[in-house]
């Protein structure tokens, strides 16, 4: 049956980079037998400008009906003046939560062709390939109660609740252990179990689920140490699993270690293989509309979609190989440009990938 994909370009550079990713989809549909149809809709700031909310019920319903979602990026300074409830980011959070996309996979891979882009010394990062598994629909992002209230003494206080139930921890544990089984079979669970009770439970449940995966070597690390170890010796890690907030911080840190966040895709999966796929980078309002942004992370998000949601391994490989080819050929957008390479625009990079497909 024809797979249905909802495409949500979003804000800033979103439409430009998603534009190149849908060209790739078009090519796969036309020439490589991919049985897929997609439609586009507004999300984030562009939805807010049009409809007064960052995600309309109609678009949410379309996302529910779709087999998967491809998203560009949302947000920008233009909307920072509004309250959290209607900001572009809220659309992301609502999609994650309503679609129960609890399993967020964030690979941090160093492309050999881009090795010199890393801030770290080459020997520390060459061959880097870490997968961060972040819980995406729980933790302090969604915990209740939350808000800003006035205390008895008249001053205000802000409060949020960091909460995880056993079943929430169990299901993300399975995602992480299964991912580790397909890789080097090493899983590092990150918590702050020496201070926070919620992560004491996290550690206990991880340990228990670990017994179902005796081949996987499970270790535990405090989040402060994990941030240190990522900088000191990132190659020590295979798969890392952590909660929503720590995962937000550590996955961005790990991504930046590669020096090329314009290259990194991500997947957010529900229990049945449906997913939302998006680049790890943001909406880069400073270069929006200039045909400068790197579309490769979004194109690689398509590859993750084909692999994780549609079982189209061969087509996923085809995209990854094409990306590797254009890097070998020296094509570079501004964010990954180094001396001697060919500086290209967003659309030219799309052209190059299509040619290499």
């Amino acid at each position: 049956m024809t797979k249905k994909v909802l495409v949500l370009p979003g804000d800033g550079i979103g439409p430009e980079i998603v534009g190149q990713a849908t060209r790739v989809l078009d090519a796969l549909i036309a020439d490589h037998g991919l049985d897929m149809a997609y439609e586009s809709a507004l999300v984030g700031g562009s939805s807010f400008d049009e409809h007064g909310v960052p995600l309309t019920d109609e678009v949410l319903e379309k996302a529910r009906q779709a087999d998967s979602v491809l998203l560009g990026a949302v947000g920008g300074p233009k909307w920072e003046q509004f309250e959290i409830a209607v900001r572009p980011e809220k659309a992301l959070l609502k999609l994650r939560s309503e679609l129960e996309l609890f399993g967020n996979l964030r690979p941090a891979i160093l492309y050999p062709q881009l090795a010199s882009a890393s801030s770290l010394k080459p020997e520390l990062v060459s061959g880097l390939d870490v997968l961060i598994v972040r819980e995406l629909t729980g933790g302090i992002y969604f915990g209740q109660p939350r808000g800003i209230r006035t205390k008895d003494n008249g001053e205000r206080e802000g409060f949020n609740t960091y909460v995880y139930s056993e079943s929430e921890i169990e299901r993300i544990a399975h995602v992480a252990f299964r991912a580790a089984m397909l890789r080097d079979k090493r899983l590092c669970s990150v918590d702050k179990a020496n201070v926070l009770e919620v992560t004491e439970l996290w550690r206990e449940v991880m340990t228990r689920i670990g017994k179902e995966y005796p081949e996987v070597e499970l270790t535990h690390m405090y989040v402060d140490n994990a941030a240190m170890q990522l900088v000191r010796a990132p190659k020590q890690f295979d798969v890392m699993v952590t909660g929503n907030m720590f995962g937000d911080i550590l996955s961005d840190c790990a991504a930046m270690l590669t020096g090329s966040i314009g290259m990194l895709p991500s997947a957010s999966l529900d229990a049945n293989g449906k997913g939302m796929y998006e680049p790890i980078h943001g909406s880069a309002p400073d270069i929006a509309g200039q045909n400068k942004a790197n579309p490769l992370a979004t194109i690689l998000s398509v590859s993750m979609m084909l692999r994780h949601s549609f079982g189209e391994e061969a087509l996923a490989d085809k995209i990854e190989n094409a990306v590797s080819t254009v890097l070998d050929q020296g094509y570079r957008t501004g964010d990954i440009y180094t001396d001697g390479m060919k500086l290209v625009s967003t659309t030219e990079m799309g052209d190059a990938v299509l040619a290499a497909l």
Copy 2:
């Protein structure tokens, strides 16, 4: 009047490194007119082993009476089996909270003599000098309610509360702005105001207090981006201010950027200049008792104490100069050793500092 200092060596390498720091104190008292007396007490795992609690009421009372506290490090795998309430780390948290040491100063400085120890490329870190100001007695570390409870459906859930009141934010804001005034007058406040209401209030209060310091350039950054920017271009920062949990993660990340966490001291201050001073590194149980640990972070913590609590700028400078001298002379403990340098033990490093005083 004679200043009273409580010395808490703690666990692991704690006693060894503090031993060298008190030799420095002894020398300053004997030969340089420092009017100070100190006594030592058990804390952390060593207190737990002796008294069943990581911090006795008696030691807490001594800490209250003292003008400042010098601490080594606490914790180790030996005590990880016990519940959070009696673990060594609890002593630290209780001291911070009971003494109201809300202002945590964590400098991340790259020593030119140790430049090659950083994971980062030299041009990105040479001359690095970032000060992280971390709120230390509030936030999710201390928020109520907290614990592990059983839900109606029979499964357990862990929960913690992330909370800040306006007055808590105001006082750490003043610490940070004052620190920025003494430096490059740039302050970056780190929050997650696009998701967490508590940090929305944080941002609002920081902005308001900033108006009292018009000379300081205040910027705001989301914590995930801050973790990225620390890896990408750490020299963009002068002073950073953030809450307890984010500060725990970011200060360790920043410290590791220098490649020499064995060199970094910290101060935890109350509103009146009283402080607890300790190295940023942990208790390193793997090398405890081997006379291998680097005592310089603890010795530099003494220097911070003299500067921040006792106004002894000249003696503080003397210690810092002595540390610089021993580095110039090529003395290195194992953690900072590189080819061609002189590998020394903990006590030999102490000897070298005393000779250089």
